[in-house]
């Protein structure tokens, strides 16, 4: 029987009733597989503590009853370090990949009573958005075509090579893109240090200072020497100073999104 994760977290901080204590305690003793569930609950509890997601009482209990040995203190430090690193300066402001948005929409099960008005409202908003962004859409359409053409001839564009990573290794000392340099279009070369599974296709999203500014639905991957790289051609005009990311999102098959980070000056 599945056990409520909240009860497991409460058990870890000593906030369960006697009956719950016995229930969880017996499961811990007799159910080998339960350890995995408890480990997941423990990790979530630590993150909630670090994110300020516990109530004052829960936080006190966490410090009193959970942080009772060096191993646990190290564990909390380790998670805090990973969260600090992974969040970086683009914490929660980075837009979600396009595929994610689509997943959310298609995974939604609408209530028929509100579905109609909601659809109408969305269409009105999309129409409004379309009018506002027609220039940018036109540019994205033009660059979608450019990215479908042969991009193996690098002499056609300015070029810049990027490496996977977040802002930690993309800040000072990381690649710098010069906005004012010559050339209307720039090809960004993004090496893939693994071989993508056959048929994998990538889309690319450019974000600047956490805001999505450009989207290319389909980009090409090429074999260069013994490895592969993804290439995306982008217009120089969309850049502004700040922290930039190109997020490669597999459209078919493949891996999690890959992030390439650089500064624009």
């Amino acid at each position: 029987m599945a056990l409520d994760k909240k009860i497991m977290k409460n058990w870890l901080i000593g906030a369960t009733s006697d009956a719950e204590n016995e229930h969880v305690g017996v499961r811990m003793i007799e159910d080998d597989a339960f350890a995995a569930d408890m480990s997941l609950a423990e990790s979530e509890l630590i993150e909630e503590y670090l994110e300020g997601g516990l109530t004052e009482a829960e936080r006190e209990l966490f410090e009193l009853n959970y942080l009772v040995n060096d191993e646990r203190r190290e564990l909390v430090n380790e998670v805090a370090l990973l969260k600090k690193y992974s969040g970086g300066s683009n914490k929660v402001s980075e837009p979600l990949p396009i595929r994610t948005w689509l997943d959310t929409v298609f995974g939604w099960r609408p209530n028929p009573l509100v579905f109609g008005p909601v659809v109408i409202l969305i269409l009105v908003l999309l129409g409004w958005q379309f009018l506002l962004n027609s220039d940018s859409n036109e540019l994205e359409t033009r660059y979608a075509e450019i990215n479908r053409e042969d991009v193996s001839d690098l002499s056609r564009f300015s070029q810049m090579e990027l490496y996977p990573g977040t802002f930690r290794n993309g800040g000072n000392g990381g690649p710098v893109f010069k906005i004012g340099s010559s050339g209307e279009s720039v090809v960004f070369r993004m090496p893939l240090t693994f071989t993508p599974s056959e048929g994998t296709q990538y889309g690319a999203v450019l974000t600047i200072n956490g805001k999505q500014v450009f989207n290319v639905e389909k980009i090409q991957t090429l074999v260069v020497g013994s490895s592969q790289e993804a290439r995306v051609v982008l217009p120089r005009s969309v850049f502004e100073k700040g922290q930039c990311q190109i997020i490669l999102t597999p459209k078919i098959g493949g891996h999690s999104p890959i992030i390439y980070t650089f500064m624009a000056e």
């Binding site: 003793i29 350890a35 995995a36 480990s39 410090e63 805090a80 370090l81 999690s256 890959i258």
Partner: protein
């Protein structure tokens, strides 16, 4: 904690009989319960979980002769009763450490925690260790910890779905990546000393 109980052969036999009439089956259950007790004490943050598990079974064995097999009590529940008591005994004598000495974290106005500045070194070390991981592993772990609160929950659901894994399996995968990071981290720390 009370003085340790010393297990006698007749007590051990009674303990095994508690688990099963079949001696071999009883032996297997004994091992499982012992491992489970270790999990229980580890889950409660006890040092020497293995020793506490043995102590629990010794005490259960010393009383096993009085266990009423006809009563509607499962042996594991009976064992739990002893484990809970031993946990409370050792929790009473556990030293408490002031929270400001626990972690190198500082509390933000939002109620969340952040590392204090000296941990820039730790971040650099982590950066180096992440670069030793395979690309998919590095991307997974950086992505896994990149969001907070509800966004974190939503992101992990998506990651699990994309990878075709159940959430707890995704967690175990991340857990294993963290173990290799930990080894790298300690190695670099030792080298710096």
């Amino acid at each position: 904690m009370k003085d340790h109980y010393v297990l006698k052969k007749e007590d051990f036999d009674a303990l095994l009989a508690l688990f099963s009439e079949d001696r071999e089956e009883a032996g297997r259950i004994y091992e499982r319960v012992r491992n489970g007790l270790e999990r229980f004490f580890t889950g409660k943050g006890c040092r020497d979980a293995a020793q506490l598990a043995d102590e629990t079974l010794n005490r259960v064995a010393s009383k096993a002769g009085t266990f009423d097999l006809s009563a509607n009590t499962r042996p594991v529940t009976y064992v739990y009763g002893f484990a809970a008591k031993i946990y409370l005994e050792q929790a009473r004598v556990r030293p408490t450490v002031p929270i400001d000495q626990l972690l190198n974290l500082r509390l933000l106005d939002s109620g969340a925690f952040e590392f204090e500045d000296p941990h820039e070194m730790a971040l650099s070390r982590l950066d180096e260790c992440l670069s030793e991981l395979s690309d998919p592993d590095r991307q997974l772990i950086v992505s896994y910890y990149s969001r907070e609160k509800q966004e974190r929950i939503d992101l992990r659901k998506r990651l699990a779905k994309d990878l075709g894994l159940r959430p707890e399996i995704l967690h175990m995968k991340v857990f294993r990546i963290r173990q290799s990071l930990r080894i790298c981290f300690k190695r670099r720390l030792d080298r710096e000393k």
